[in-house]
Amino acid sequence: MPVRLVEASSPSQVSGTTHGNTLPQPCSLLSVGQAFSGTQNVSSLQKDEAWRVNVRIQGCDLDHGYLCGTMEALNVPMADTPVVTFWEGEIVDTKNYTFFTGKWGATVEDDIKHWTKFPSFPPLLSQVEADGGKSLDLSNYPYIFMRWKEQYFVNVGTDCGLTIAGFYYVCFSCSDGSINGFYYDPNSSPFQKLELKSTNDGRSGFSFSTYELQ
């Protein structure tokens, strides 16, 4: 289980606001049941390849900066069927998690390099370089940054020839629900890009389902 970063006893705050007011706000397009589809580019020096990918959000616990869901990769050459994995996400909310990963083999340089590839990140860069973004006020920022780590294969064995050793740096756009990500794995080609859009299941509009755990 990823280690939760504990907040420091007296964090420095921008404009003296409390932690409660600086977290990213909930976004309806990033809620349970929501689906996204698009591609993951898995190009290497030898060839250009892209897999179709479907993602669905299954769990969301904003208090703990937690998200989870499944990722389905279609037309994977080594597999007969679509490959489904279960992933867990860390939401960069400056309370539970900052922009610094601190694990999974990613250094601070790796973090900065990857976050910088998102067009929505530069305004935050200087603060992030200073303290990982701990004192940022993200409550009105229309983008949510996350790390997604696949935990296990749902429908295939671990001998399927695929790896889930790395993780994704993810940027979600609150306005249209589009998702961009970069896969990081020291042993794989760098900057494999994930591009997803919110899907409608063939509908003319957006539909929202719900469950509540007791």
Binding site: M1, G59, C68, S175, R203, G205, S207, T210, E212, L213
Partner: protein, 705 residues
């Protein structure tokens, strides 16, 4: 203990009772019979029940009564009477000890005032016997409530606490533990200087320490004022003494000291918040778990009180390996019912909020033990097992992996619903029969017992529904094991329960079941549930039921496009019901939010669906009153504003054939100006949706507005 000549042959119960009752039995023989009785019943529950059935208690109380009456003469006669007082009081105490039937019999026979009168007796041994027996009675919930607010009673209580007799002071403390419940009572006791006296008793004998710890906990519970008085300077090192008692050599004292500290901690966040004391409490309770007796049975319950609803305490307990220890106990072997219940409840509390705790619990592979307990003989254990499942299945990761959706768990859960439904129905019928069919003198006792029985069954039913609500959440869009076990029929029946708590939880479980379910399964559920039932649930007297019902519909119409038609069929009765509910000004905001999402989901369908929703939100006959849409867009609840915006976005979704027509209607209803006011809404989600909606409306815009 002097033994009688016949000690090798204990008298038959009937003979003993005969001797006690007979006017012809000489007094010495009666005394011997009393001793004999007392010796037979001490520590022997079965014998107690036998003698109770034979009416032993009224006989003994009658003897006590005659002996307690003013006597002629003194000397040997007095000594004899005092022996009778002692033995009869002891026998009565023994009947009351740990046996509710015994306590009831003793109270019904009028023993209580007689025992009280012994407290002021000149002979210390008589006082001891009376005090001891009264204390045993006060350990039961059935003991009469002591009214502290009457001056006379307070004075008497103080006299007990100030007595030189150890048993009498302990009795005083026990009365407080039993009867001190309200803030007014706590204040009154505190105002009378009781705390100081109790603090002194902390330095007394074991019984005095234990009794004092329990009564201090009762006095402080939930009362910050009394808690601060306890912590105040006039009580010196009282807190330090209690903390020291956590290391006392007697396990029961360690347990009670912990309970007292937890009571203070839970009452006021100003005290006992440092890591040291928090860890110490966890460790003491963990160690007490090893006690094979009653202390070990109670320790898990006390730990629950320490960690419940407190994430920081749960983390400390986790770090101290409490979960591992509890699981070791579980796997070690079979248990006394109370201990099993306690362990399940403590584990439930521990994994209520933290994923690391749930992970650890699941790693330790005790799920099969808890699964078996779903069919345990004891209703309390079954309920505790349900609560365990409810909390541990809060792990979405494990829900997703299908950890909880297998026949081994689903079958007993469905069975629990069947059983309790039958029992509640049966008891409810009995309740009403007694209410209307029997003479009034039977009414109170019988219907109270039935009401208690129904209430307990309902709690168990709610516990089962809580577990089911969570384990049915199905992410895989395949048929649910729960459905295959016949669970839907049970849930649907429970949506028609007379008790709102049952209805709410049954509909909640259905809502969760339907999340992301295949259309085929949704149809099956609708067939069982019927539109008529859904409509009556939307119009349920309880807002919480309405909210869950609308959430259920929201889920039913989500998914592929044809799910909408499955639900709404041809007559649109359900859609009308939702629209009517939205238009009612008395609807609660949570109900409105779910209703708007249900309508919004339908509005993401085809033209017919969008028109149908439009008719509900902007009916043809629009009068001057503010439209529903504007009212909701102006709600102070951002969730309702968001849901309404989604409905508008869906109704005006570009590339739908008749969007233009709907856009015009919305312009005419003044929606656009309302939306323009929202583009700087403080809530980001609302702001972004307002932008989208405005954009869509402007695309088709009526330039004349």
């Amino acid at each position: 203990m002097p033994t009688s000549a016949n000690s090798n042959h204990p008298s038959r119960p009937e003979d003993l009772i005969g001797r006690l009752n007979s006017a012809h039995t000489p007094y010495e023989a009666k005394l011997k019979a009393l001793r004999d009785l007392k010796n037979q019943i001490i520590g022997n529950r079965t014998k107690k029940l036998v003698f109770l059935k034979l009416g032993a208690v009224p006989s003994v109380v009658s003897i006590l009564s005659s002996a307690a009456a003013p006597q002629d003469g003194g000397g040997g006669n007095r000594e004899f009477h005092e022996s009778v007082l002692i033995q009869s009081a002891a026998a009565i105490g023994s009947f009351a000890c740990g046996l509710d039937e015994g306590v009831k019999a003793v109270l019904d026979a009028g023993a209580f005032p007689l025992l009280m009168s012994l407290i002021s007796h000149l002979n210390e041994k008589v006082v001891d016997a009376g005090a001891r027996s009264l204390k045993l009675i006060y350990q039961s919930k059935l003991a009469p409530k002591y009214d502290f607010l009457q001056v006379k009673n307070m004075e008497f209580l103080l006299s007990l606490l100030n007595s030189k007799n150890e048993k009498v002071t302990s009795l005083g403390a026990s009365i407080i533990t039993h009867s001190c419940q309200t803030a007014a009572e706590q204040q009154a006791l505190s105002g009378a200087g009781v705390i100081k006296r109790l603090v002194c008793l902390l330095g007394g004998s074991i019984n005095q320490k234990d009794a004092s710890l329990e009564s201090l906990a009762a006095m402080v519970k939930g009362n910050p004022e009394v808690a601060s008085k306890f912590m105040g300077p006039e009580n010196g090192r009282a807190l330090g003494v209690v903390i020291e008692l956590m290391k006392d050599k007697y396990p029961r004292t360690r347990l009670l000291a912990s309970m007292c500290l937890i009571s203070i901690r839970n009452t006021s966040t100003s005290y006992l918040q440092d890591l040291g004391i928090k860890s110490a409490l966890v460790l003491v309770l963990l160690e007490l778990l090893d006690d094979p007796g009653q202390v070990g049975d109670e320790a898990p319950f006390v730990l629950s009180g320490l960690v419940t609803e407190k994430e920081d305490m749960q983390k400390i307990a986790f770090d101290a390996n409490v979960i591992n220890k509890f699981c070791e106990h579980l796997t070690a072997g079979s248990f006394q019912t109370k201990r099993l219940q306690g362990i399940f409840l403590a584990l439930s509390d521990l994994c209520s909020k933290l994923e690391c705790c749930r992970d650890r619990l699941l790693d330790l592979q005790v799920l099969n033990i808890v699964t078996e307990a779903l069919a345990h003989d004891s209703a309390e254990v079954r309920a505790a097992a349900c609560i365990f499942f409810k909390n541990v299945s809060r792990s979405v990761k494990n829900l997703s992996a299908g950890q909880f959706m297998n026949e081994a768990i689903a079958v007993p859960l469905v069975q629990l619903l069947c059983d309790s439904r039958t029992s509640v129905q049966y008891l409810s019928s009995l309740f009403w029969i007694f209410r209307y069919g029997y003479a009034i003198e039977h009414y109170n006792a019988v219907t109270i017992y039935l009401a208690v029985g129904i209430s307990r069954l309902m709690k168990n039913e709610v516990a089962a529904l809580g577990a089911i609500s969570n384990v049915v959440v199905n992410f895989m869009a395949r048929k649910s094991v729960f459905m295959e076990c016949g669970g839907v029929k049970q849930l649907v029946q429970l949506t028609k329960s007379m008790e709102s708590a049952i209805r709410v939880n049954a509909v909640w479980a259905l809502k969760n079941l339907v999340f992301h379910l295949s259309n085929r399964c949704k149809e099956e559920i609708l067939l069982e549930l019927t539109s008529t039932t859904l409509v009556s649930l939307i119009n349920d007297p309880e807002a919480s039921v309405q909210e869950q019902a609308l959430g259920l519909i929201r889920n039913l119409v989500d998914g592929t496009l044809n799910s909408i038609d499955c639900v709404f069929g041809e007559d649109g009765e359900l859609l009308h019901a939702i629209g009517r509910k939205m238009r009612r000004s008395t609807s609660k905001v949570e109900v409105q939010i779910q209703g708007m999402y249900a309508l919004s989901n339908v509005a993401s369908g085809n033209e017919l669906h969008k028109e149908a929703v439009m008719n509900q939100l902007l009916p043809q006959a629009v009068d001057d009153k503010e439209t529903l849409l504007v009212k909701f867009l102006q709600s102070s609840d951002s969730r309702l504003r968001t849901a309404t915006l989604w409905a508008i976005i869906n109704l005006t979704y570009p590339s739908s054939p008749n969007t233009c027509h709907r856009v015009n209607k919305l312009w005419n209803a003044g929606i656009v100006s309302q939306l323009k006011n929202m583009v700087n809404d403080p809530c980001l989600d609302v702001k972004l949706r307002a932008w989208t909606a405005v954009g869509q409306l402007m695309m088709y815009g009526d330039a004349s507005t």
